[in-house]
């Protein structure tokens, strides 16, 4: 099942190492995300999922190893660096300011000023423009079930907040969105809506890394599944070729799959 593709990975990590004192987070870990796919990252607690994701999003700096975005070597020192290369992260803690409204949250940290002297001299914000584009991007993603774009985020339900956070990550010309346990705190219906949102983002050409513990959800949305074990990549499989039991077996070390049976690049 080995497939060689000419497509370049949009995000690539080579032999990443990261240790915290005597605890090893990443041990010669490889990683590839290809354009336009949903790659699920699964693994037991302590397998190095979070460490890997934090390295890719700039929140941690690996001790050694190389990272590439679209083939260009990068070294992220901060989350700003990652964001400027088009890698957006939606954190489990949601990273929204509850008292600010939806539009203010979408544009938080990248506000748009008015044109002309009002914007240049008086630094006046173009709230109208920000509200209109917020409404547009939320309705494009089909999440505009909220009453008003000027509603404070704290008056939204958990799923709506998650939708705002995901939309923000997908709005600003980003190429890669990292989602950390996006459905962990949500009910069944809301989870389904967020999963649909993830598929919509992928269909619009976005590449998505999804960290999740929820196997049915992973098998629902993922194109490929990266299984992390003991700080390194144990295998990459597709939901079509393997069962949930196989994935759990690989996670726990009960099953090892030879490289030629893995899916290291997507099938086209």
């Amino acid at each position: 099942m080995t497939t060689t593709t000419d497509i370049q990975p949009i995000v690539q990590g080579k032999a990443l190492n990261k240790s915290f004192g005597r605890v090893i987070g990443l041990n010669e870990c490889d990683f590839e995300l290809y354009p336009g796919e949903v790659l699920a990252v699964v693994g037991d607690n302590g397998a190095g999922k979070s460490t890997l994701i934090k390295c890719l999003s700039g929140a941690l700096v690996p001790d050694s190893g190389e990272m590439f975005i679209n083939g260009e070597q990068v070294s992220f020192k901060t989350t700003h660096d990652a964001r400027s290369k088009g890698v957006e992260t939606v954190y489990q803690t949601l990273a929204v300011a509850p008292a600010l409204d939806i539009s203010e949250n979408l544009y938080l940290g990248r506000e748009v000023r008015k044109k002309g002297i009002l914007g240049k001299l008086f630094r006046s914000l173009d709230k109208k423009h920000m509200r209109e584009t917020s409404t547009k991007s939320l309705s494009e993603l089909g999440v505009l079930t909220v009453q008003s774009i000027t509603q404070p985020v704290e008056t939204l339900s958990g799923g709506q907040r998650q939708a705002v956070a995901v939309s923000r990550a997908g709005t600003f010309g980003s190429k890669v969105v990292i989602l950390d346990e996006p459905t962990a705190a949500l009910g069944v219906n809301e989870s389904a809506r967020v999963l649909k949102l993830i598929k919509d983002l992928r269909d619009r050409g976005m590449s998505i890394i999804l960290i999740s513990h929820n196997m049915p959800q992973v098998f629902d949305v993922a194109d490929r599944i990266h299984i992390q074990r003991l700080g390194r990549r144990a295998a990459v499989v597709t939901p079509e070729a393997r069962t949930m039991n196989d994935v759990v077996a690989i996670m726990t070390g009960a099953l090892t799959i030879p490289v030629e049976d893995q899916q290291l690049a997507p099938v086209r």
Partner: protein
């Protein structure tokens, strides 16, 4: 919820909003409404007691002279409360506001004082414009010291400003020898903020009052209309989320204390004009009064919520209570009592409206 047509009885039940929840929503959106109601009630009660019931000297309450005096009385607390509001919006607190104001005021007065006056320092006799500018710069830098300590060493604002409260109080006494400089000992420009004129009969306005109102308008615009203002709210609301959104939280916090220092510097100039002298012993309880004005005005001590207009209303409440109760012939202690009740009520209302849910 109004757009979505309820399909089942259960949904209809869930979307029913009680009148109490409606009040909660309004207050959540406009936190300055409750202080406005309190202010309106106070004014109506005092005016009624004076005009109809003829209680004490309250018949003077609704007269232009009293009203303009009350407005003039707001300038010191009112201006300082702008600085306090911006700091509290970031979930901080500034206990050194009064000490910095006095320090910056003594810098201005000791620079501008005539060399012919007795016991002047060697720095005396400067151009009063230069003295005011230097005084405002000193205030700004003092605010910067607070900001630097808070941001650089991650110290809680309460502790830092408690420390600088003592430090600047002591510096004032050490450097300026606790000497009060009288109005006749410095050029008129230093006291210009107290200059008054009468736009219409019986109603007088001071320069300081106009400057304070201008500051309210400018900073209300900055807080609601610029990215910096949004970042101030965001940092107070959730610093972690702000940082993850790409806001430089430390830089915003530092700039907030710097801006607060600048406003305190202007307040120092206004205070000289209002009191007609520069004394190291003015307004010892001014810190608590600014916090009171901010809290009564509906700004949350937990940060991220509140409006400058609320602070202005809060300041008016303090002054109106002050005048009303003393005109009614009541002891000063009743004002203190009323303020205490209002502060606790305001924080309780804030806790309640922060629980709002969709």
């Amino acid at each position: 919820m109004s757009q979505t047509a309820p399909t089942t009885a259960a949904e209809e039940f869930a979307s029913r909003v009680t009148p109490m929840q409606r009040v909660q929503h309004v207050l959540h959106r406009y936190p300055w409404v409750s202080p406005l109601v309190v202010l309106a009630i106070l004014i109506i009660v005092f005016a009624f007691l004076g005009l109809v019931m003829d209680v004490g000297a309250l018949d003077n309450f609704a007269k232009p002279g009293t009203i303009s005096l009350m407005l003039q009385q707001t300038v010191i607390i009112g201006t300082l409360a702008i600085a306090q509001t911006i700091v509290i919006l970031t979930a901080g607190i500034d206990l050194s506001i009064g000490a910095i104001m006095v320090f910056s005021q003594m810098v201005m007065a000791n620079l501008a004082v005539y060399t012919t006056a007795s016991n002047v320092l060697p720095i005396a006799g400067q151009n009063p414009i230069l003295a005011v500018i230097l005084g405002i710069i000193v205030g700004t830098l003092a605010g910067g010291v607070n900001g630097f300590l808070i941001v650089r060493f991650n110290l809680p604002p309460f502790i830092v400003t408690l420390g600088t409260l003592s430090i600047f109080t002591a510096l004032t006494l050490i450097l300026f020898k606790a000497r009060t400089i009288q109005g006749k000992e410095y050029p008129e420009f230093l006291g210009i903020m107290g200059k008054d004129f009468q736009p219409f009969g019986g109603f007088s306005v001071t320069v300081g009052l106009i400057v304070m109102i201008a500051l309210y308008i400018i900073f209300a615009y900055i807080l609601r209309g610029t990215a910096w203002g949004t970042h101030v709210y965001a940092v107070g609301d959730d610093p972690v989320a702000s940082e993850l959104s790409g806001i430089n939280v430390k830089r915003v916090l530092f700039s907030v204390y710097l801006v607060a220092g600048f406003i305190i510097g202007i307040a120092a100039w206004i205070t000289i004009g209002r009191l007609g002298s520069a004394s190291p012993n003015v307004a010892p309880e001014i810190n608590l009064e600014t916090i009171t004005a901010v809290v009564i005005g509906g700004t949350s001590l937990f940060g991220g919520r509140g409006r400058l207009i609320g602070t202005f209303i809060g300041t008016l409440i303090i002054i109106v209570l002050d005048f009303g109760l003393s005109l009614a012939g009541l002891d000063q202690a009743y004002r203190v009592l009323a303020i205490g009740i209002l502060v606790i009520a305001a924080v309780a209302v804030d806790q309640w409206i922060r629980k709002v849910r969709a």
